[in-house]
Symmetry: C2
Subunit: 184 residues, 2 copies
């Protein structure tokens, strides 16, 4: 199994105009990315928001599917949503991984835009077998803010097809990236 963690960031991200915002949490982001993370053996799925009402909402959703009625109805969903950890910032995520692993995670951020020197999938696929922990960071809304991009060790190449259309949902992008890295 690979030593890979996934984080979905709701702040700081940008809106359509490029302003830094805190995005609202989308229920199906939690379900879909948890299910993909579980399929491909990620160690944990961090959902990052500093907003306390949003943190409470995530806790309510997760507990319904892990310790509540949802989990009894659908044990497969319980297994997936058990991977979710709620954190108020990316630095808290990194602290949590460091506490588990004893070393810092390498931060790999994702973006729909092409950037010079970005990390290719084949190279990242090789790296995640080197024993170090890796944190793959996904942004909501119109993507991660530049401040997050700058803290990264690597920027992953965008997912693209032949059609020159780069507007996948974050749920789809997460699924595709995990499949490219770990899929059979």
């Amino acid at each position: 199994m690979v030593n890979l963690y996934v984080a979905l960031v709701h702040y700081p991200v940008v809106n359509k105009q490029g302003d830094i915002i805190a995005a609202a949490v989308t229920n199906l982001d939690l379900h879909d990315i948890a299910r993909s993370a579980c399929t491909y053996g990620a160690r944990a799925f961090y959902v990052v928001t500093p907003l306390t009402d949003q943190m409470r909402m995530i806790e309510k959703i997760v507990s319904h599917w892990t310790t509540g009625g949802g989990g009894r109805y659908n044990p497969a969903r319980r297994e997936a949503l058990s991977l979710i950890r709620i954190e108020s910032s990316l630095s808290d995520v990194l602290e949590d991984i460091r506490a588990k692993e004893g070393i810092n995670a390498e931060i790999v951020v994702t973006s729909a835009k092409k950037r010079a020197g970005s990390l290719g999938y084949q190279r990242f696929k090789e790296m995640i077998h080197d024993g170090r922990p890796y944190l793959m960071v996904l942004g909501t809304a119109w993507g991660l803010s530049e401040t997050v991009m700058e803290t990264a060790d690597h920027v992953l190449a965008p997912v693209s097809g032949p059609a020159d259309y780069n507007h996948l949902s974050v749920r789809s992008a997460a699924a595709i990236i995990l499949d490219r890295l770990v899929g059979c």
Copy 2:
């Protein structure tokens, strides 16, 4: 570009108990699969339900994002949702493709379960360049009914990772399959 069509079927599918049902339409299925279809150059994305109130709801969503305010706000979403065609049955989908192409589409159904003789991704990837039209059929709820499986020319191998967990969302499965077939 490949000659590939995608269909998302809401009837006949099965529920958790294996009964045949008509599943409710999920808004984000329309958005996510349309965006993936657009990314990978699919010719059309058929949403299949025989329920007239559900058909009207899909029309309302699609028109908001194609001819209404949503499309003006987000032209990329307009481009994706323009791929959506609403049909009441899979035979109507096949009829529509035959009218466009002059020949029948090869039907490739998807399933989360392993089956003997299933079509592998490498083989399907080669096939979609042979000029014939292909229809990839996805099921909602607990998957396509046996009656649909039996009409297929091919059953695609399930998407799986190393973790022996096969409970991806249909949105994630669609994204991964399209990436495996057409992704760079």
